[in-house]
Symmetry: C2
Subunit: 204 residues, 2 copies
């Protein structure tokens, strides 16, 4: 008997550096997560390899998968589809391996509906703390700049609602350490461990 | 403005190795927790220092503290009192530092009532997994031994109920790594971060 894997979802506002953090995590030799490769209809860029960077698919194929419910989440950006094939995620979790998704905020919302006990991590721009400092010290920014950033910060805080954890992306290495710690901790959560132990004793 | 510290409570069945794990954690140079020194009426043992290993107090002094509600938790073992002075814990948390308690299961129950949002970690003997293996392989133990261990295991699982996390003490270093990860993760929990961010923006 083995424990099922955890579904780890890293998301956050666009431009926050999700891809950089994900690459750093998967560059570490001891990473125990399985990265879930996304599917897209956009053309491969220089150096991108099918089945490594993305599954590159034709638009018709992608739409067929949508119709057949074979995508855990998907979205369209500037005329191209991006999505996560669900079968691969489910099979990997069943094998007891943690699966790591790095997706947009809309996608994370779709995943939450299908995997409510996934582990949802919100990557936060570090600028909120900086913003606070600027407001306190004053005079260094125009009121407009501050007002715009304040508005953006409020929207970011609203987005957090769906998530279990918030990691500030002040330094990539620190953010990765925190994400690794969160996964270790989640594997120790009493609810998960208790039910596993109880099952063990049922053998009697 | 700073975040309040976390109250970390390490407990578990007697003999599980709580003291060993606690000592290992505090032997690490980068430990950011503050260890809460217990108070006791027992005599110092060879090499023990007042204010480092314990606060050594007379029975009357201890009972006066109980009456005045100055103990976060206390218990009596073989004729001696052991307890945690509450003022030190509260002051340290207010200063934004995490406080680490290593206490018996009865004490942890008392602390949970007073600090419901503390971080409660149950240190679990590794023998449950071993036990399972023995039952599966059979023949290596008498039925009595297995029955006694099964009973103990069931009681340990019952005890877990109060706790947020369960850490198996299979190896001291691994247990410490998990405890450190749990504390890092808890500092990233959305509920904690969100309210801090919201307060930041109230400055406006």
């Amino acid at each position: 008997m083995h424990e099922k894997g955890l579904l780890i979802v890293l998301s956050g506002p666009s431009g926050v550096g999700k891809g950089t953090v994900r690459k750093e995590i998967f560059s570490q030799p001891n990473t125990a997560f399985q990265y879930s490769i996304s599917m897209t209809t956009r053309a491969p860029r220089e150096g991108e390899v099918d089945g490594i960077d993305y599954f590159f698919r034709k638009r018709e194929e992608f739409e067929e998968m949508i119709e057949q419910g074979k995508l855990l989440e998907y979205a369209e950006f500037v005329g191209n589809y991006y999505g996560t094939p669900v079968d691969y995620v489910k099979e990997t979790l069943e094998r007891g391996k943690d699966v790591f998704l790095e997706i947009e905020v809309q996608g994370a919302r779709q995943v939450r509906e299908k995997f409510p006990d996934g582990l949802f991590i919100f990557l936060m721009p570090p600028s909120l703390t900086e913003l606070k400092n600027r407001i306190v010290t004053r005079g260094t920014e125009t009121d407009d700049v501050i007002q715009n950033r304040l508005q953006a910060a409020k929207e970011e805080i609203e987005m957090m609602n769906l998530y279990d954890y918030v990691v500030e992306n002040d330094q990539v290495e620190r953010a990765c350490e925190k994400i690794n710690a969160i996964v270790i901790a989640e594997h120790c959560r009493r609810e998960r461990v208790e039910s596993r132990y109880k099952k063990m004793l049922e053998v009697e």
